[in-house]
């Protein structure tokens, strides 16, 4: 388990990064936290000629907030994000999702941008970003472009990043007064989910559901947005029963993942339960669940 040989560069500016990526094209891979790439190198499943390290580009890290808009550098460590008060208070769903990502030593190196760009269908952070409707700032030598989270993740391990581009920053609009919920079932805590669910709920002054978002992960190449469920909840007083009825509207036909260890039937069986839990937790965090 020793990687094939490669050359290594540790640029300190984005300009250098793009210059290297342009020079080496498809032979180059960027390394962020390395928690997925390095095992692939060791197994020789990834065999780049050149590894371009993003860890020494200071402008890629950090969390800032301005007028309710959070900008998170792609190289922000998962552990830093998890410990961040801003994220804990303004983007609680991200905090909840990160609690399920790996373990302290992998979170210490692993980055938000790395995890999102890796686009594992069972990963937590891409689903959270979809639930928030985050914007992804993509940078390359030609400049920057911004895409919606829903346009960023295309397929299993596939994003809209072109050769020579990297994810630079994630922009999320914090929504005040909402409750969030995250629920997942993995064989072991910290592992990738068999099914996961993320929910955001905002109530109006009368305690009715003003806005709802529900995502289901690990069932298809890209986390599923369940708008039918959300629509059924909006405008209603949220009770456990209402939630139980609404999650029946999850489109189980769009589930596609099926393997011997975790069958499609099983994923379909548990998804409504996990969705209910996430929604109930979200409602509870708004202080509005009525039994």
């Amino acid at each position: 388990m020793k990687p094939a040989p490669f050359d290594y560069f540790a640029p300190t500016t984005l300009e250098e990064v793009f210059e290297l990526l342009n020079r080496y094209g498809g032979d180059a891979r960027v390394i962020a936290g390395g928690q997925s790439l390095v095992p692939m190198l060791a197994l020789r499943l990834a065999r780049p000629e050149v590894v371009v390290d993003l860890n020494r580009v200071p402008s890629l890290s950090g969390i800032t907030e301005e007028d309710g808009v959070l900008r998170i550098g792609a190289m922000t460590r998962q552990a830093r994000a998890l410990a961040s008060d801003i994220i804990g208070t303004k983007l609680p769903l991200l905090h909840q999702g990160l609690l399920n990502v790996g373990h302290p030593p992998t979170r210490a190196r692993g980055t938000l941008g790395g995890s999102i760009s890796h686009a594992d269908p069972a990963a937590e952070t891409p689903m959270v970003m979809l639930a928030y409707g985050a914007k992804m700032v993509i940078a390359g030598s030609a400049g920057e472009r911004t895409v919606e989270a829903a346009e960023f993740t295309l397929d299993t391990f596939e994003t809209c990043l072109e050769d020579g581009e990297i994810l630079k920053e994630i922009i999320v609009e914090a929504s005040a007064d909402e409750g969030t919920g995250f629920s997942e079932l993995a064989r072991r805590r910290g592992d990738f989910a068999m099914v996961s669910a993320a929910a955001r709920i905002r109530l109006d002054a009368d305690g009715r559901c003003a806005e709802a978002h529900l995502m289901i992960g690990a069932v298809a190449p890209v986390p599923l947005r369940c708008d039918a469920v959300a629509d059924a909840l909006v405008g209603t007083q949220l009770t456990e029963r209402r939630i139980r009825d609404a999650v029946r509207l999850i489109d189980l036909n769009s589930f596609s993942f099926d393997n011997a260890e975790v069958s499609l039937a099983y994923r379909r069986h548990i998804a409504p339960t996990l969705a209910s839990r996430a929604l109930a937790q979200a409602v509870g965090r708004t202080g509005g669940l009525r039994t």
């Binding site: 388990m1 020793k2 990687p3 094939a4 040989p5 490669f6 050359d7 290594y8 540790a10 390394i31 390395g34 928690q35 390095v38 095992p39 190198l41 060791a42 197994l43 590894v51 390290d53 860890n55 460590r77 552990a79 790996g102 373990h103 302290p104 030593p105 992998t106 210490a108 190196r109 805590r189 910290g190």
Partner: protein, 171 residues
């Protein structure tokens, strides 16, 4: 092969080494610096045996390239061990039978070392979370958790404060 020079601090000593880019940090610590207390159990980042402290964080030594450690401050099991005898954490692990074959033990010591440096009186759930990324095949973790709980209880009794290390306040 194109070897690179890497300068770093390991266990409070400045060192430099010449490494191929493909060499993992754990392999470099072991092979180049002779620090064989850091063990490799899987080389793909799951087992945690190679966990070391890099710039104040617990990190998988097998998931960092040695070249990435340029300028880093690293603590390995050798650096978390007193010249003679055992640290408080190590002594507790012995007292509570928190090890058998001893292969995962350096990683366990390092995550506990990190935990207690920052949080002298961790809760039970904080102890478990700190240990959650470390696999042990022998003990069933019970002795390890009991050892950590005993250290926490002692600290509470003695009112121990977080260690003010230079690393923690560097930034």
């Amino acid at each position: 092969m194109n070897k690179r020079r890497v300068d770093l601090t390991v266990n409070n000593r400045a060192v430099s080494m010449m490494v191929e880019p493909r060499l993992s940090l754990a392999d470099a610590l072991r092979g180049e610096l002779g620090l064989t207390g850091t063990h490799l159990g899987c080389e793909h980042g799951v087992c945690g045996a190679c966990t070391i402290i890099v710039d104040s964080d617990p990190v998988r030594g097998c998931l960092m390239l040695a070249v990435q450690a340029e300028g880093a401050e690293i603590v390995t099991i050798e650096g978390a061990t007193p010249v003679v005898g055992l640290s408080e954490i190590q002594a507790a692990l012995r007292e509570f039978h928190g090890l058998q074959c001893g292969f995962c033990t350096p990683g366990m010591v390092m995550v506990l070392h990190h935990l207690f440096s920052n949080n002298p009186v961790p809760s039970d759930s904080e102890i478990r979370e700190a240990l959650s990324g470390q696999l042990c095949r022998c003990t069933g973790y019970q002795g390890i958790v009991n050892a950590a709980k005993a250290v926490a209880a002692r600290h509470m009794h003695q009112n121990v404060q977080p260690r003010e290390t230079s690393q923690d306040h560097r930034e």
